[in-house]
Symmetry: C2
Subunit: 311 residues, 2 copies
């Protein structure tokens, strides 16, 4: 038997056939056309599902069900997707509508939460039942997996890990308009801001010759021996660590994963100092500290996790 | 059928018979004598259980099982109580040892977590499946209940909500030795420190005529119209709110409870400004905000919650 995993993105939608060992057997990517409304987009998705199943020599009856990751607030209690602004959806009963089209049970969750679940069922957190997964990108995403399930809170409104206050007085301005959230410190946007400030203060730093500042160019400057860039990346690891310590102190999962291009770019140059900070700052003794690992599945995580919503 | 709920405290141990409606049918309190070792104390507790059952006209066979709340780290995965310094226990297989004495299944959890569970099964959070329960006392305790179960993290090491960093730079010193934890701001100890500083800075404040500063005397001074005391309690509500907002943003439970004598002393003078802060600072719209309530069961919560560990 198979499951269908769908990653519905703002620009592209990926439909995958996933086997019971969480391997993607076939995948099909199509443009996301949201301008014609909810039903037209769901017609496209259902057609894509039928195409890939037929093209792979299977039938719908070979599938246990469908899981879909959606870029919005996923209120599974009410069965509604809310505030999915990038595709213009609000209050959409996605499971009901897709079930009408496919005749299979349909489950849904937030897209980044699906990627986190994918890492737990088949990636860097495989074999663990609880995990915290943080994605360091333009913002900071986070997902708490407990007993193998996504915990997204009442009406899907939790999971805003980037907006935890770590500096209630005099904090940096966040994209949400408030001050002192974790995000302006621990996001890639935050790293670039910190590097830009350091570069301006130190004209001789290699950061001024790195071209456009990015996580890659900043970590490359640090690796080349530039002490100013090394100071920036060391401070950034502390900022990332502050948030991780907070969530270990409260939730103490089996494992903590870090994802986002920056983790691939920086590798141990990020993970190791973060781990050192966490070890020396966590509230309880660090003997049984959760491991801190990089995510492993890349862009497959979303499809695998969406399929894993089907239990 | 009944369940036995035990609250093992540093000075007293309370044993209760609890019915299937979570009512305490009988309760018996004895001094906790820990100086003679683990087995002697467990002999005392087992004798107390047998006494109260016999004295109430029941038999052990009328009981589904026993739940015990212990003042330490409760590693239910390993079956061991760790770091229960107040009773001198470390690495004690409490369930196994008590089962040997009583012939009933025995479940255990941290004592404050049991009190939180009691509020969920029969108190202020009754009817909700997820809750965050914060206790504002000398320190700040916290417990996350998810799907009706205590989430205490890997090896019982989570739940240190008081030690979440809310001021990573220039924060107040915490009892744990670090700076910027939530606890020195939101604990009663923190309130008293803030009131003492305000009193010293403002000799005419009623806080200087309040006798020994306590949550009761500080809120009484504020209620009497003293603007300095009102400033202290207003700022304290912000500090409490900062932490609550953090945990709503991430975990978004159905309900948030506040416990501790200060909540009884201050009542709406604490709850209302905390709620106002939370409503204006939570990341998502506040329409579906979890209610913020005072705990309701008082000292019965620990026994009722311990009994509720027996499923």
């Amino acid at each position: 038997m198979f499951r269908i995993g769908i990653e519905l993105g703002g620009e592209h939608t990926a439909v995958g056939i996933v086997d019971d060992s969480h391997h993607i057997v076939a995948v099909r990517e199509t443009p996301t056309v949201s301008k014609n409304g909810v039903d037209a987009l769901l017609d496209d998705i259902a057609a894509s599902v039928k195409d890939i199943i037929a093209g792979s020599g299977f039938a719908l009856s070979d599938c246990r069900g469908v899981g879909i990751g959606v870029p919005g607030v996923c209120d599974t209690q009410s069965g509604l997707v809310r505030n999915a602004n990038v595709i213009g959806w609000d209050c959409v009963p996605v499971s009901e509508k897709l079930k009408q089209r496919l005749g299979l049970p349909v489950f849904f969750s937030n897209d980044t939460d699906c990627a986190a679940l994918g890492e737990v069922v088949a990636g860097a957190a495989h074999g663990f039942s609880s995990a915290l997964v943080f994605t360091l990108v333009t913002g900071v995403g986070g997902c708490f997996i407990v007993d193998g399930h996504i915990w997204s809170g009442k009406h899907g409104l939790g999971g805003e890990f980037g907006h935890v206050c770590v500096q209630m007085s005099g904090g940096a301005v966040c994209s949400c308009g408030k001050r002192g959230c974790w995000e302006p410190y621990a996001s890639v946007t935050g790293l670039i801001r910190q590097a830009r400030e350091a570069a301006q203060a130190h004209p001789s730093s290699a950061l001024n010759r790195a071209g456009e500042l990015s996580s890659r160019s900043i970590y490359a400057a640090a690796a080349s021996g530039d002490v100013i860039a090394q100071g920036v990346t060391a401070q950034y690891a502390v900022y990332v660590g502050v948030g991780i310590v907070n969530f270990i102190n409260t939730l103490y999962p089996d494992v903590v994963l870090l994802g986002g291009d920056i983790v691939a770019d920086a590798g141990d140059a990020l993970i190791k100092p973060v781990l050192a900070y966490v070890q020396s700052h966590v509230h309880v003794d660090a003997v049984t500290l959760p491991e801190i690992r990089a995510t492993a599945l890349g862009k497959d995580a979303g499809i695998i996790g969406a399929a894993a919503l089907v239990r």
